[in-house]
């Protein structure tokens, strides 16, 4: 039976090493000293009173004169009907909806919403960006007539709003640009990235990552010199230079080098660019090769030191200092105006349902807040420390009895999960209504090797 010695050895190694390896933090997807450079964007004609602000997570976004991020609410089809706004037809108004709409199968509509007496209108939380009487359209910026007779700015067909959750330039607390699942979510209005047509930029929690237009990850080698590829024949067995057309000239952060007569290769900030041969779309296997890195047009600030990165069966996930996977809570109510309920000022009844069956004490056990140590803070707009009254889930004053000091991401508290017992466990992922998007929890994925798209 010696033929099986190898496999038994591997199994023994794997089984014995698994717990030990999982306790140690995984290698962070952020470099030790991430570049502070910001994403470059296409010059877009704008009416006066608007500007571009480069946000930490979403990259360049349009903003009003105060620097407040602009949002849109494009129509989309939910299970039981469409929701959102059609082009040039703003529908967000001052109606105070009192019942759910029944857009979320299998539940019908017509039931009274939580905290209905204080429920705001759509315009209360999404102020319309109104145009002055003498404002005139500029390029993709047009003006729509609202039902109340006011005029509202529109970009690329969809009406523009700001969010009451944003205070400072660069904040994007109203909505995210990533996957939002089965909800009628708003979107920040992103400015086109200045990348050649062969490339795209996607938003990850780690930063704005460069991909090809076909969804392949883009890599740079630490062995290359500025504007010089050192990828030799052996290297080319694994790595494919991303070839540039002959007519390419330098623009923004992109240029091209001639790696052989007539053969030009794209560079980004003087780094020659490659794909990893055979790598499926949206995977990051190449970054496991020593000396090879994904290319980010800008990194998000590293999470505070109180967090770690862990390996799970799916990929890399953010975790607390004890290695326990960290979760974000998502919530959008099912009224016609689809208002968010994922932040402390919103009704907490939704969250208490899926974290405790309506029982606040059980909620605190099953999805406890990630508490912040005294003095902990962050200079990033993404991460903050806030005080929470655990029994209401609402913000608290610092000196309030029983208040907890907790970590928050984009002004929303984050959590761990009671069924996770060891680093890398992710049993709270997609917990809640409609896979954790409508009213539930999603793990803080930094890399997924098995999903259909970027995490």
């Amino acid at each position: 039976m010696t033929r099986s010695s190898t496999i038994r050895g591997l199994l023994a190694l794997g089984l014995a090493a698994a717990p030990m390896l999982s306790i140690a933090a995984a290698q962070s997807p952020w470099p030790d000293s991430p570049s502070m450079e910001q994403e470059k964007y296409e010059p877009v004609p704008m009416p006066s009173g608007f500007q571009v602000v480069v946000s930490e997570q979403e990259g360049p976004v349009f903003a009003d004169a105060r620097g407040h991020t602009l949002y849109q609410w494009p129509v989309r089809q939910l299970r039981n009907g469409p929701v959102g706004e059609r082009k040039s037809q703003p529908s967000c108004d001052d109606t105070k909806y009192t019942v759910n709409s029944g857009l979320m199968s299998p539940y019908p509509g017509g039931f009274e919403l939580p905290e209905v007496e204080t429920r705001p209108s759509c315009l209360d939380v999404w102020p319309a960006v109104l145009a002055e009487d003498d404002a005139t359209p500029v390029d993709k910026w047009t003006i729509a007539e609202r039902k109340d007779g006011t005029r509202q700015w529109v970009y690329d067909g969809y009406a523009l709003y700001t969010s009451v959750l944003d205070d400072a330039p660069g904040e994007v607390n109203g909505a995210i640009s990533g996957t939002t699942g089965e909800v009628g979510a708003r979107r920040p209005v992103q400015v086109p990235s200045m990348v050649p047509p062969q490339f795209r930029v996607e938003t990850l929690l780690v930063g704005r990552i460069l991909t090809t237009d076909t969804g392949q990850m883009v890599y740079a080698s630490e062995q290359d010199a500025p504007d010089e590829s050192r990828c030799d024949a052996a290297c080319l067995e694994k790595w494919a230079p991303i070839l540039a057309p002959a007519y390419v000239t330098a623009r923004g952060d992109f240029s091209a080098i001639e790696r052989a007569p007539g053969i030009r290769q794209w560079t980004f900030r003087k780094q020659p660019l490659y794909t990893y041969i055979g790598e499926p779309m949206y995977k990051m296997y190449g970054s496991d090769e020593p000396g090879w890195d994904n290319v980010y047009v800008q990194y998000t600030p590293k999470p505070p030191a109180a967090f770690t990165v862990q390996e799970s069966p799916t990929g890399l996930v953010l975790a607390d200092k004890n290695g326990m996977t960290v979760y974000r809570y998502n919530c959008v109510d099912d009224a016609l105006d689809q208002l968010a309920c994922d932040y402390p000022e919103a009704p907490q009844a939704y969250r208490f349902t899926v974290c405790g069956g309506g029982d606040v004490e059980r909620c605190l056990e099953s999805f406890p807040y990630v508490e912040a140590e005294e003095g902990a803070n962050s200079d990033s707009q993404l991460w903050s420390v806030m005080w929470i009254d655990p029994m209401t889930g609402k913000r608290a004053m610092p000196d309030q009895a029983g208040a907890l000091r907790v970590w928050a991401y984009r002004e929303r508290p984050i959590y761990t999960h009671f069924r996770d017992k060891a680093p890398g466990d992710m049993r709270g992922d997609t917990w809640g209504e409609f896979y954790g998007y409508r009213n539930g929890y999603k793990a803080f994925w930094l890399r997924s090797d098995f999903g259909r798209r970027l995490p």
């Binding site: 039976m1 033929r3 099986s4 190898t6 496999i7 591997l10 199994l11 794997g14 089984l15 698994a18 390896l21 999982s22 299970r79 759910n100 199968s105 299998p106 539940y107 039931f111 009274e112 919403l113 939580p114 089965e182 067995e237 694994k238 990893y276 041969i277 055979g278 790598e279 296997y285 190449g286 496991d288 090769e289 390996e311 799970s312 069966p313 799916t314 099912d334 009844a349 939704y350 349902t353 899926v354 974290c355 069956g357 309506g358 029982d359 059980r362 890398g424 992922d429 997609t430 917990w431 209504e433 409609f434 896979y435 954790g436 009213n439 999603k442 793990a443 098995f450 999903g451 259909r452």
Partner: protein, 373 residues
């Protein structure tokens, strides 16, 4: 070599895979080409005593369906949509979201074992798929179609009369699709020390999460002869091993202490935990089929179901999570909680199909690359 560092292997492995598919019939007949193709009972030993089988078809959660549905004499269960309509009829009464939708979702995520408001139709059958897991033949046990007694499959009683879990249900369609298409779900058994695929008193059976796509055939099937690389990074927690024996071409294993079966269906990753897991598979050089049986961790099974199937999708197949939980706990038959005495696991079986593959271990990837040149 890191398994992900070998992605450049993929194209070469694909060539090797195609080559493997071509030569497999020749390998299968061994020294007498053509003989085994004519005589399926012929004995055969895999090269090096080693053969892998990748799991490609999750036929069902051990449901023995009959054309007349005789296993469900009381009919099928109703689901979330029908239960909601019964609880909250359109009678003009004003209700709140809290006491309707949110109350129902609370029961999904925090179920209880109180008596069900709705009648639950369990399977009533003498026969079931599965394995005798506990060595006893008790009153709640089933008989297999081939006459084995003491078959433990209480999960069949829970899910057998729920449309979602039957062939007509969405789960049967989508889970099988994702079993085939989603790499998170790829798991492979490898038999080593095999002297005969017909009769061998002791073989080693190892279990891995593996990384490669399946070799699709032209008719929705999956072909033998592919390769599967062991996922030694993200898949460490899936690795397991046990002993088994082959009798008349049927593999029966000793219990794996625990098998994690990944299950990424409509949303993000989940897995089920089979305790004391056993395989009973009919083997051939081209594939295997049979059951993966064991005592299934109820809590993990239940939440894997809920995180993989929103109430909306469960409603398509009339699968009410809260009602199922009560039935699961009522019929649980193993692993009592030391404090409460309540059983925490339920016997069950997964009806599975596998196709032959070559398993590439991390230490052999470079050799495989060299050989593929």
């Amino acid at each position: 070599m890191n398994n992900h560092n070998s992605r450049s292997l993929i194209k070469r492995l694909a060539l090797r895979t195609m080559l493997g598919a071509l030569i497999l019939p020749v390998i299968a007949v061994g020294a007498e080409p053509g003989a085994a193709a004519e005589d399926q009972s012929a004995d055969w030993a895999p090269p090096g005593g080693r053969i892998g089988y990748v799991f490609w078809d999750e036929v069902s959660w051990g449901i023995r369906e009959t054309p007349t549905k005789e296993e469900c004499p009381e009919g099928f269960n109703i689901g979330p949509r029908e239960q909601f309509a019964e609880l909250f009829p359109k009678d003009g009464k004003k209700r709140t979201l809290m006491e309707t939708q949110l109350m129902r979702e609370a029961q999904v995520w925090f179920p209880d074992t109180k008596p069900d408001t709705f009648e639950f139709h369990e399977v009533a059958s003498k026969y079931a798929l599965g394995v005798d897991l506990d060595g006893k033949d008790s009153s709640e046990d089933f008989v297999s179609d081939d006459g084995r007694t003491g078959i433990d499959n209480q999960l069949f009683r829970v899910v057998g009369c729920i449309r979602n879990y039957r062939r007509e249900g969405e789960l049967g369609i989508i889970n099988t699709k994702w079993r085939q298409q989603n790499p998170f779900n790829r798991v492979t058994f490898e038999l080593t020390d095999v002297d005969s695929l017909k009769n061998d008193p002791e073989v080693t059976v190892s279990y891995y999460r593996t990384l490669d796509t399946l070799l699709a055939g032209p008719t929705g099937n999956y072909l033998p002869g592919g390769t599967q690389r062991v996922d030694a990074r993200w898949g460490k927690r899936f690795m397991a091993s046990t002993k088994g024996r082959i009798v008349d071409g049927v593999l029966e294993t000793e219990p794996f202490e625990q098998l994690l079966v990944p299950e990424w269906a409509l949303s993000d990753p989940a897995y089920n935990i089979f305790k004391d897991a056993r395989l009973r598979l009919t083997l051939s050089p081209e594939g295997a089929e049979g059951v993966l049986a064991g005592f299934i961790d109820i809590e993990q099974w239940y939440y894997a179901m809920n995180t993989s199937w929103a109430t909306h999708h469960a409603a398509y197949g009339q699968a009410s999570a809260a009602s199922m939980y009560k039935a699961l706990m009522r019929l649980a038959d193993a692993y009592p909680d030391p404090e409460t005495g309540e059983n925490t696991a339920i016997s069950g079986a997964m009806d599975i199909k596998l196709t032959q593959v070559y398993v590439i271990h991390p230490e052999n990837e470079e050799q495989t690359l060299a050989a593929s040149h």
